[in-house]
């Protein structure tokens, strides 16, 4: 089994001088595609996003789960044949449950999240600009407190790089395929209950 942190493919990590020309091109093309898809999927719209949190409109969950199914099957297959590296962020129970709750509360207030907010700005939903000012301020506030947080909250329940199949001692590829099947069945029922 391949360690989640270990590179299976020679990394094309950019030099300290910044990304190379080819890397810049991938950032532009993939960024354009991401924003395009978010807008076409309706998740740059205020009512679709807040509708998800009011449990009235399930577009957000449908998009997220479809992306997870397709992405998961592809990434774990490619990783199995050593074509891509996994990029697993460490699990920190304290920081991630508190951070997640705070994020969720903020998400409900602004209605746009950091990625869909970028697409919403392109779409001409100018109210996202208030949120972007807040995002910048909040980021700096975090940086101000980062020394203290690193020594306290971020050490609570520190588990390192941990994937669900590793946690349950199941080989990764079969786990990913089984999870994809389960999530697809879940989407099928979700569609039955919530047509939108």
């Amino acid at each position: 089994m391949i360690d989640p942190g270990k590179a299976v493919k020679e990394s094309s990590e950019s030099s300290p001088a910044g990304p190379s020309g080819k890397k810049v091109l991938t950032a532009i093309v993939f960024g354009l595609a991401f924003g395009f898809l978010l807008q076409k999927g309706g998740v740059a719209k205020y009512n679709v996003l807040i509708g998800q949190l009011l449990l009235q409109d399930f577009t957000v969950v449908k998009i997220m789960v479809s992306a997870i199914i397709v992405g998961m099957v592809g990434i774990f297959t490619l990783n199995h044949f050593a074509k891509v590296n996994l990029h697993i962020k460490p699990t920190r129970i304290g920081a991630q449950s508190i951070g997640g709750l705070l994020f969720g509360a903020g998400f409900a207030l602004l209605a746009y999240c950091p990625g869909t907010g970028a697409a919403a700005l392109g779409q001409g939903s100018w109210d996202v600009l208030f949120g972007m000012a807040g995002l910048i301020a909040g980021s700096y506030l975090f940086a101000e407190m980062s020394g203290w947080l690193k020594k306290t909250v971020e050490t609570w329940g520190e588990k390192g790089k941990l994937t669900l199949p590793d946690l349950l001692h199941i080989p990764r590829l079969p786990f990913a395929y089984a999870a994809a099947v389960l999530l697809t069945v879940g989407l099928f029922f979700l569609q039955r209950i919530y047509p939108r």
């Binding site: 950019s14 991938t26 993939f30 960024g31």
Partner: protein, 233 residues
């Protein structure tokens, strides 16, 4: 009070020895004990509260306003394929929130360069026009192209659903709530190590345990707050 002392004295007499009687519990502590019981119920409320409120009428229905142009399953699947491409061609994951931290770093360096560079977060993540920065800048343009070509460019400050809930004359409220929301989100995302893109899509699809935890916490916090915003305020 006298009755309380009497009761204690009787109990003491029944016990048949000379140990000093236990003083009655003052009212203050009794109340404090009740509050702790309330705090213990808080996590339960946080999880089941939103489900209970689900039946509530928010006065507005999100599905009465225009929805997605394309099928969410097609869009989601395409984002999944996009993640293969970013992994394979760029050795990168899709993520958005660090863009704002980078921007904050640039502003910080312009105003107080020495102080900003001394902060542990910026020591670990020096602000730069890196891959993620270019990616999110392009996301803005991608959103514009999609809206423009689909005839959905909005050019509006307040969404009709917001207006139906808070009135047309609510720009100041939108500004305050939007700014507070953005600040909370950025702080939460940095603490958790990612946002709805970095954890919600890229992390979950790699079956990262911490990403699934983060996303569940995000939805609990989000659902509870949205339901409060659309009922209480």
């Amino acid at each position: 009070m006298t009755r309380e002392i009497d009761r204690v004295a009787h109990a003491h007499a029944r016990a048949g020895f000379d140990a000093p009687p236990k003083p009655p519990v003052p009212r203050f502590f009794a109340r404090a004990r009740r509050t702790t019981r309330g705090a213990r119920a808080l996590p339960i409320l946080l999880v089941f509260g939103p489900l209970a409120v689900h039946a509530a009428d928010f006065g507005v229905n999100a599905t009465n306003y225009d929805g997605p142009a394309w099928s969410p399953y097609f869009v989601g699947g395409a984002i999944g394929v996009l993640s293969w491409l970013t992994f394979y061609f760029a050795d990168k994951t899709i993520g958005a929130s660090s863009f704002y931290a980078t921007l904050a770093g640039f502003f910080g360096k312009a105003v107080a360069p020495k102080h900003t560079e001394s902060l542990p977060y910026y020591k670990d993540n020096p602000p730069a026009f890196d891959w993620g920065f270019i990616f999110v800048t392009s996301t803005i343009l991608g959103g514009f192209i999609a809206a423009w070509t689909g005839g959905e460019f909005r050019n509006e400050w307040l969404h009709p659903m917001w207006v139906d809930r808070f009135g047309a004359d609510s720009m100041l409220l939108r500004g305050i709530i939007g700014f507070a929301g953005g600040a909370l989100m950025a702080f939460g995302a940095r603490l958790a190590g990612g946002c709805t893109s970095g954890h919600g899509i890229s992390g979950t699809l790699q079956l990262n345990a911490g990403s699934w935890l983060t996303v569940i916490a995000m939805f609990i916090g989000g659902i509870a707050t949205a339901m409060l915003l659309y009922t209480a305020l």
